[in-house]
């Protein structure tokens, strides 16, 4: 039987500006699943992802990691976050640390691994995302694509239960997105459980098990990539897919 890695039930998040970013979202992610969330900008996708990682606490609803309810009071959220990998749109590497230092930090200071073992695992993770030779460089000395791959290594190195990726390629120049997508493709082959927010449609079609169309803070439609590419059900999804496919062709 497939095991549920992460689940959210009836998640709500409203900002102080009274803007409701996430409205009654429920989702279930099984071991090895690759789910891709897409939708217009400002539709609440990033907030939803942050609520899942409890980086932004939801107002209502529950988030479960394995069987543990993270929204219950008294839960050690730091421990829970250590089991979730998060990759940010704007990467956010620690600028004072080298690539290796970035990947090593949580191993040393959160998981408390001995120095040598942390170093070994960090280098392994950097090798997996093919930036091992950049281990001693600072983020400012890396290209955007290399930075994002270090960001992925930083999320990956702790062997998290799931990796959440918030538009990992959208801040990069088009020629640099390819290398990050290759890395994600490798992760998919390894069976990594991922929840990705992305608009990279050819990539989505290739690796996603399920696509989720998000609009105005809520899930409008869920289906296989094939369904979205050939026969989206809702009018909003149809329009959005048309726009995305046109844009992808232009690029």
């Amino acid at each position: 039987m497939t095991e549920v890695v992460m689940e959210c039930r009836h998640l709500w998040k409203t900002y102080q500006s009274r803007l409701t970013a996430v409205k009654d979202v429920s989702m279930l992610i099984n071991e090895g699943d690759i789910k891709l969330v897409f939708g217009p900008s400002g539709s609440g996708k990033s907030t939803f992802l942050r609520c899942m990682a409890m980086l932004t606490p939801p107002d209502k609803g529950d988030v479960f990691l394995r069987e543990e309810c993270l929204t219950k009071s008294g839960v050690d959220l730091n421990k829970a976050r250590a089991r979730i990998g998060f990759v940010f749109q704007h990467i956010w590497l620690f600028r004072h640390l080298t690539a290796q230092g970035n990947v090593e930090l949580a191993l040393r200071r959160v998981l408390k691994l001995p120095k040598e073992e942390a170093r070994k695992r960090a280098l392994e993770a950097l090798r997996e995302v093919k930036v091992e030779e950049m281990a001693n460089r600072y983020p400012a000395q890396l290209s955007g694509g290399q930075q994002q791959r270090v960001g992925i290594a930083r999320a990956l190195v702790r062997n998290p239960d799931i990796i959440l990726l918030d538009e990992p390629t959208s801040a990069l120049d088009p020629e640099l997105t390819g290398e990050v997508i290759d890395t994600l493709r490798d992760l998919a082959k390894m069976g990594t459980t991922m929840l990705i927010v992305s608009h990279e449609m050819p990539f989505a079609r290739e690796i996603a098990d399920e696509m989720i169309f998000f609009d105005e803070g809520t899930i409008v439609e869920t289906g296989s990539p094939e369904q979205f590419f050939t026969n989206p059900q809702s009018e909003r999804a149809q329009k959005f897919m048309m726009r995305l496919i046109k844009r992808t062709r232009r690029e």
């Binding site: 990682a53 980086l55 730091n78 421990k79 829970a80 976050r81 250590a82 089991r83 979730i84 998060f86 940010f88 704007h90 956010w92 590497l93 620690f94 600028r95 004072h96 930090l105 949580a106 200071r109 959160v110 600072y138 983020p139 400012a140 930083r154 999320a155 702790r158």
Partner: protein
């Protein structure tokens, strides 16, 4: 004279570190514990608004009357007053650095499983220091200069020994010129080095 130089240096360095020890936590309180921000603001207003010389006299003659320990020691009083004034300044320098580094570094650290406090220790503080090094250079220079008030309450610093020499030699110009030269020698190289080194490092790391 040499004893005066070492006292001036000791006052400046001790108060710089006292300022650091108090100012750094205050900057984080102001940035992250907004409910207590008004206390930090009040502290900053008092120690930045009142002239150092007035504070030294108040603490040495006034507070020292009720708390002979530790304010009976002029040396301690000077370090305390300059240290607190420096804490008020450094709190502002570090707060600027925290703002410059940006909230996102904290979020990235939290996403790895760090608590707020440990994010501050392992991610924010190392960057705050890099960001603030040029500002700390200016703060050090300011402390060297302001330590020259210390002779008023009898600390044997450069100014005190200068006055002694002036009285003994009846030369009213040369001792002060020597003192001026010594102050430049103590401030300029270190402040410039901190500024250059800090700016270069900031540039290298993309701050």
């Amino acid at each position: 004279m040499l004893e005066g130089v070492s006292t001036t240096l000791a006052i400046s360095i001790f108060s710089l570190f006292l300022g650091l020890g108090v100012g750094l936590p205050l900057s984080f309180v102001r940035a992250y514990a907004k409910g207590y921000g008004f206390l930090v603001e009040g502290f900053e207003k008092v120690f930045r608004g009142i002239p150092e010389i007035v504070l030294m006299l108040i603490f040495y003659w006034g507070v020292g009357l009720y708390f002979p320990f530790p304010f009976k020691s002029a040396f301690f009083t000077v370090i305390f007053v300059l240290g607190m004034r420096s804490a008020a300044n450094q709190s502002q320098i570090f707060r600027g650095a925290i703002r410059g580094i940006g909230e996102e570094q904290m979020v990235a650290a939290r996403s790895l499983g760090f608590s707020k406090l440990r994010s501050a220790v392992h991610v924010m503080i190392p960057q705050v220091f890099i960001f603030a090094t040029p500002g700390l250079g200016s703060e050090y220079a300011l402390l060297i200069k302001d330590s020259s008030y210390a002779f008023i309450i009898g600390v044997l610093d450069i100014m005190f020994t200068t006055n002694v020499i002036r009285k003994a030699t009846s030369d009213a110009v040369t001792p002060y010129l020597v003192a001026a030269f010594l102050y430049i020698l103590l401030t300029f190289p270190i402040a410039t080095w901190l500024d250059t080194w800090g700016s270069r490092r900031k540039k290298k790391l993309g701050f």
